[in-house]
């Protein structure tokens, strides 16, 4: 189906004001719940502050209002949360590109039923680790992080808003040069508009108070049409100029990501001595495997007796990381969850991402985007 662009906003006044960019996404969720097209909506809600994004299943459309607003300091992953705990539900889910990639790979492996799920994509320039974000706000913005009531990323800047309405902003480039800003994985990520979801929505190219939506699938189109007919959203066509601006933003971000790939996967890539030191940290706690949406096997080879080396003080990187890598690297979506959860600060994602890139160059397979399974994929492990 041909792509289609439009601008949308919620008709409900409260959703329009409290939701991001006119609350179109919240209105779509409300429509799906009200019309009993889904049993629940999986999205983020704000916990104790803006650094605390909590995955929340909303089953009553009255509660959708509590999910309004963006949270850039919440690098969550929905893929395995759905496949492990919500696979039997008719679900609508707000997806960052990495969520959509994980879900797509899980659909191909029959761990998520694509007929049961609406994927409402959110354009994403990247997210920040919550503790890093707080330190950054303290050091570079000279603001007590607990006083920030809202944050946003716009025109290359990370902008904070304080309770008294004042704003402070700093160029993300500048923050990232000093080791702050977005997660390293997000810096390297080339998928900024989730065209692997049913819809891709965001503020790039949008007028104030409107959400720019790209319709990707038939299902997404039907959802929009239904919500429009039901009086949940109003829509209009974006100007040619808006479409061009959005395209320019996307291209600039992809170029920047490629620059960062070069920096982290080549120029600053750890050398063999660095890796030896990193593998020495490993406590074989399986956190990387457990955080990986693609590691879905019921019985994991890594726990089989022939890979057991309990006698060694340090686990053999070949029979632990090496085996894990050989099982999933080709499908690595560079979500960075393995690295986020590693208690021993091993930069795992760079090695997986680097290998996947080489595989991609040879085979053309793009995990989370390509429709088919990776070439030579063996279902034996399933």
């Amino acid at each position: 189906m041909e792509s289609q662009f439009l601008l949308a906003k919620a008709k409900d006044d409260e959703l329009a004001v409290r939701g991001e960019c006119g609350g179109a996404v919240s209105a779509l969720f409300k429509y799906l719940l009200d019309q009993d097209l889904v049993d629940g909506v999986l999205t983020l809600t704000r916990g104790e502050d803006i650094y605390d994004g909590i995955p929340t299943l909303v089953e009553d459309s009255e509660d959708i209002i509590s999910t309004c607003g963006s949270l850039h300091c919440a690098p969550t992953m929905f893929g395995d949360l759905i496949s492990k705990h919500l696979s039997d539900m008719r679900l609508a889910v707000s997806v960052k590109p990495c969520d959509a990639m994980a879900i797509k790979e899980l659909e191909k492996r029959h761990q998520i039923n694509e007929n049961l799920i609406y994927k409402v994509g959110l354009n994403c320039g990247g997210s920040l680790m919550p503790i890093t974000a707080q330190k950054m706000i303290e050091v570079f913005y000279d603001v007590d992080p607990s006083e920030v009531v809202k944050e946003e990323i716009d025109k290359g800047k990370f902008i904070i808003e304080l309770a008294d309405g004042t704003h402070k902003s700093i160029e993300i480039d500048e923050l990232e040069e000093k080791g702050f800003g977005r997660r390293i994985n997000c810096q390297r990520c080339e998928l900024k508009i989730p065209r692997n979801a049913d819809l891709a929505s965001g503020n790039w190219g949008a007028e104030p108070g409107w959400t720019f939506i790209e319709v990707i699938t038939e299902k997404g189109k039907k959802l929009l049409d239904g919500a429009k007919k039901g009086g949940y959203i109003e829509v209009k066509t974006p100007s040619e100029k808006a479409i061009i601006i959005r395209g320019k933003i996307e291209n600039a971000m992809i170029k920047l990501a490629q620059k960062y790939q070069e920096k982290y996967l080549e120029e600053n890539y750890p050398n063999i001595e660095n890796w030896d030191e990193y593998w020495n940290h490993c406590i074989k706690c399986y956190a990387c495997r457990d955080a990986c949406s693609l590691c879905y096997c019921k019985e994991c080879d890594l726990e089989k007796e022939f890979y057991n080396d309990e006698d060694g003080v340090v686990p053999d990187p070949l029979t632990f990381q090496g085996v894990r890598m050989s099982h999933v690297y080709f499908s690595c979506i560079n979500c960075g969850q393995c690295e986020d959860v590693c208690p021993m600060e091993i930069p795992l994602a760079v090695i997986f991402h680097r290998m996947q890139k080489k595989y991609r160059d040879k085979t053309g397979f793009i995990p989370g985007v390509s429709e088919e399974l990776p070439p030579l994929f063996s279902p034996e492990k399933e």
Partner: protein, 367 residues
């Protein structure tokens, strides 16, 4: 119905944040809690699997010994408890509690014992003595220039170990001491010294190491087989201008020692010999000294899990696990963190503070 809720891992004394995944009032998994400043969503395997504790060997109904342990009503169980406590003079009653309860439970139990006139009370911490010192924070560890580690901290308490790794990346010099030929902490240190026994550390330690102890250094002491060693090492390192972190065993050992007397293995065995009625809260003394319990007339066991002590008890009162309580826990660096009730306790189990209060009410005691 699914929800993701913040809590603190109850598996060790580090105090990591974890999110529990709750589905239909059952804990079915954990989810990274990246907002938590101590561990940023990182956990060890015990932390990731702590949700299993909620379901494991749970006590769901009060039990009363007749011909074997039989399910009973709360009233009957509590009446049996009260009549036995009343029957014995206060010096014959003992109360022990584990290092896994909340600060609020320690406070309630302290009041209860005081009003009852019971002096034989304490928290059993195994090898660790009561420590009354300001300990280093985790930021201190990260900013240290020199870190001396006794025990395999990186392997045993990885999320404390992580701060050592971060310090090393910041340029800190790491020195480890332990008994085995090789340890994970040793492998990740600049220097590792193997010693004959922990008690010989003070004699054997390299004098150049001691010269490096300053206000910019941290000594981490863990994994000790007996309390005397721990006390000796604390006294020894306290002479230096260094920061110290003792690694306790349970998630609230540190909180317990702020409120209640601490019992070593010897203290516990002495206490058991003095008394006739034992009230155990959340602990399992029978697993380590069943012999010393043979002369007891009556054992009351309150807690969330079936264990060796519940099986020899006369009354068993089903309590709550950490995810079913609201209160606070104090971690090994002395930081107190709140936990909130996420789940309902199973069956007829009750909140532990509520159980203590019910006993007090029946005894006619004010709390």
């Amino acid at each position: 119905m699914m929800k993701v809720a913040h809590t603190i891992c109850p598996s060790c004394s580090v105090g990591c944040g974890v999110n529990l995944i709750i589905k239909d009032n059952e804990a079915v998994g954990t989810y990274p809690y990246k907002r938590h400043p101590l561990n940023e969503g990182k956990t060890c395997r015990k932390g990731r699997e702590c949700f299993k504790i909620v379901m494991e060997n749970r006590l769901k109904e009060p039990l009363l010994r007749g011909n074997g342990l039989k399910q009973s009503s709360w009233d009957a169980a509590l009446d049996a408890v009260v009549s036995q406590i009343k029957l014995h003079p206060a010096p014959e009653v003992g109360i022990i509690i584990s290092g896994k309860c909340t600060n609020e439970e320690y406070e309630t139990l302290k009041k209860f014992s005081k009003n009852l006139g019971v002096e034989n009370i304490g928290c059993h911490t195994g090898s660790v003595p009561s420590v009354d010192l300001g300990t280093a924070t985790l930021d201190d560890v990260e900013n240290s220039e020199f870190i001396l580690i006794i025990g395999d901290v990186i392997k045993e308490t990885p999320l404390l170990g992580r701060w050592i790794i971060l310090a090393k990346e910041n340029g800190a010099e790491i020195f480890a001491i332990d008994k085995p030929d090789e340890t994970l902490t040793g492998v990740n240190s600049h220097q590792y010294q193997q010693v004959e026994s922990i008690s010989s550390i003070i004699d054997e330690i390299d004098s150049t190491v001691l010269e490096k102890l300053s206000s910019q250094s941290t000594v981490i002491i863990s994994n000790l087989e007996n309390g005397d060693n721990f006390e000796k090492l604390l006294t020894f390192f306290n002479q230096y201008d260094t920061k110290i972190i003792p690694v306790f065993q349970d998630c609230n050992s540190r909180g317990a020692m702020n409120i209640l007397p601490i019992l070593s293995d010897d203290d516990l065995s002495d206490l058991l010999e003095k008394i006739k009625v034992l009230y155990v809260v959340g602990d399992d003394p029978a697993s380590i000294m069943i012999e010393s319990m043979k002369n007891l007339d009556f054992i009351i066991s309150q807690g969330c899990m079936v264990n060796e002590t519940t099986s020899i008890s006369d009354v068993v009162l089903p309590g709550s696990c950490w995810a079913e309580k609201t209160g606070s826990l104090t971690n090994t660096t002395g930081e107190t963190q709140e936990i909130s009730k996420i789940l309902e306790p199973p069956g007829n189990a009750l909140d532990d503070q509520n159980i203590i209060t019910k006993i007090a009410e029946k005894m006619g005691l004010e709390l």
